[in-house]
Symmetry: none
Subunit: 403 residues, 2 copies
């Protein structure tokens, strides 16, 4: 998406846009002549909606490339996922609900075991119990002292945690300290871009943190050291109000998606319980915002588990709530996913993602919502990055380009 | 294709990829309501394969643009054909089987006739017989002496030959010596980019070669001079092993396609006779490589001759061999062309090229392999450059992008 074009053309109006994301919606037939999860699901409401909608298959990143949740959502929000990379550390920080500011550097932490010779003997500290690790995280937060910087450690699960470093002029161009194999010494964190002064100082900061942690954890064998990896700066994305003139809101049940929405400048609303609860939040906030990103996780989780039936059932649960959504009267409503998660593959995949856009101004081509009706739709196969442009256009929030 | 993305994500695995290229596969109906060469061909095996495959129409270069063999194949191999240009001289050198190294400069040669006043009186030396021209080529190879450079002349046919210059620091930014019309003096070869020192020295080298040739050919009227055109450096393409982690092999009957494959870093295998022989070579080399480019020329040749029936027959010949190919068990198999060569046009054209991708992870949409089933396929109309990404994805040779 050409964000400058969006900036130039966007106008604020009263019309409402809803981007309903069923995570990992795209699927595959279990055998080549069967139906996909979406095709197999009993979705009378989505089918009726599709019969009056523009349909297409969206591609999140590039041909053959399976996207992670970060690039998948960035593309949905209109950002080029190859230009705006979100590092693993940042995504983990968002996932544990860290308050990540624009100057912050994030990294993933593993508690690990170092033997007397200084070599790593266990990269996961014997898969230390979650409750034990949480205490060590508290210990680090209370005792680590860094020169000219703050650090916030948040526990994730078992041996995993996240560190957020806050100071001026940090850089995420840093190598991991994790040697990836046992029997080796931890590596010093180093700049990956040679001569950059910010990276050099950030590396010193990370190494100082590790030194502090070693001192504090010395008596806490097997978790007597930390390994750092996946360094990344908060990606300073241009924000939705500035690009699209939208007062955007996010309704999501999981911290990572809330965090991704916050990166785009959306206000994260307190969501109700489950899919029905999310839809209630949508109704309750209808007057205060003009763009709503609603995230449903259950489809992806079922796909990752290889559970075709459960994925279809999650789609059916959404389908049953579609009439409530339509009653609100969105000017433009997209129903899609951030990527495919075919139960057959038990993982994210590169396949086209079904996309439906309902508005007053559509060119309907199909009778139902499914991968194959979408493949034959008026939008064809297109880049997910274009979805925001389509939504803005259909909601009549874009001025004409040129005379 | 973003080659850096491929470099970042590619992993080596045991799975095998086959890219089966029927040169000039794309066609047109002779009248608008008829069938194309592929649609008219009796292809039970390809149709059965298509019924379980992803289908689409690929576009080699740009809308409305008919590609030559060079850009057509470069796009199939994942290179941007507008970024990686292969000069005519280079293509001719590959076509005659010249061993072209990374420092080499190639140009096409015409034997020509110069009159007493130094003007060109025949640009083709009376279409000199192939056997006579071959002797003159030997004469040049034995007698041309250049300062600090080697030159290798290879005969092509009649008045045409190819020169390959080998030295350090050569450049292909050179103008032709061929004045394009009789009655004019040959032009001096000149740098086309102004001040580039390498081009200046290369121009001097080319002019010295022409001077030497004039001396050696003085008594061989009508072939008493040479005209040089189509200068081009060996394009130093990034190689398949480096981009995709593939041990790639090429099976092709014609030197130009072997040469193009070699540019991409493929190992050119000694091919058996005809299409069946190529498929035998494929079977015999199955264990030693994990990517196979198989090139079939007969479809293009028939299209160029305007022979609709013969083109269909060539497709049927391939169809009959498809079961042997499937028996090998490729993880991902593409059947496509490098461009269209409709018999109706007797030439390469810009039309969409039928594309079929068979793997375990497809979303089938059609019942047969033809231009119109492909147009309605789950891949839509897409850039041929993306084919390598699709093949890598379907063969599970790409890591996920982003967390």
């Amino acid at each position: 998406m050409d964000l400058n074009l969006m900036r130039e053309l966007s106008v604020s109006t009263d019309s409402r846009i809803v981007l309903l994301v069923l995570d990992g919606l795209g699927g595959l037939p279990m055998d080549p002549f069967g139906r996909t999860e979406l095709e197999a699901a009993n979705t009378p409401n989505l089918d009726a909606l599709a019969a009056g909608s523009d349909l297409g298959l969206s591609r999140p990143v590039a041909a053959g490339v399976s996207p992670g949740s970060g690039p998948g959502h960035l593309a949905l929000f209109g950002y080029d996922p190859l230009e705006y990379a979100v590092g693993r550390g940042v995504l983990s920080a968002l996932g544990v609900g860290s308050e990540l500011g624009e100057k912050d550097l994030a990294a993933r932490i593993n508690f690990a075991t170092k033997d007397e010779s200084g070599k790593i003997s266990d990269r996961r500290a014997g898969r230390i119990a979650t409750s034990d690790a949480a205490k060590l995280v508290d210990l680090l937060n209370e005792n680590v002292k860094l020169d000219g910087a703050e650090v916030f450690v948040t526990h994730e699960k078992e041996h995993r945690a996240v560190a957020v470093f806050r100071a001026d002029g940090l850089s995420g161009a840093l190598s991991d300290s994790d040697p990836q194999r046992v029997g080796l010494e931890p590596l010093p964190v180093e700049p990956t871009n040679g001569t950059d002064g910010a990276a050099k100082e950030s590396a010193e900061l990370a190494n100082a943190f590790i030194e502090e942690a070693d001192r504090i954890l010395a008596d806490h064998h097997p978790a007597n050291t930390v390994l750092l990896r996946g360094f990344g700066m908060h990606p300073a994305l241009p924000k939705f109000d500035e690009i699209y003139e939208l007062r955007a809101a996010a309704i999501a049940g999981y911290p990572m998606y809330k965090g991704l929405a916050r990166l785009a400048g959306m206000e994260v609303l307190e969501e109700g319980e489950g899919i029905a609860g999310e839809f209630e939040t949508l109704r309750d906030s209808w007057d205060s915002h003009d763009f709503f990103f609603v995230h449903v996780k259950a489809t992806d989780a079922a796909g990752e588990d290889g559970d075709f039936e459960r994925k279809s059932a999650a789609i059916e649960e959404v389908d049953a709530l579609v009439p409530d959504l339509l009653e609100l009267g969105p000017a433009a409503l997209a129903v899609t996913g951030d990527h495919a998660t075919p139960a057959k593959m038990e993982s994210h995949s590169w396949h086209g993602v079904p996309f439906l856009l309902s508005s007053e101004y559509t060119l309907p081509t199909g009778e139902s919502f499914g991968e194959r009706t979408c493949a034959g739709g008026s939008l064809g196969v297109f880049a997910a990055e274009e979805i925001m442009g389509l939504l803005m256009g259909h909601a009549l929030k874009l001025n004409r380009y040129g005379a």
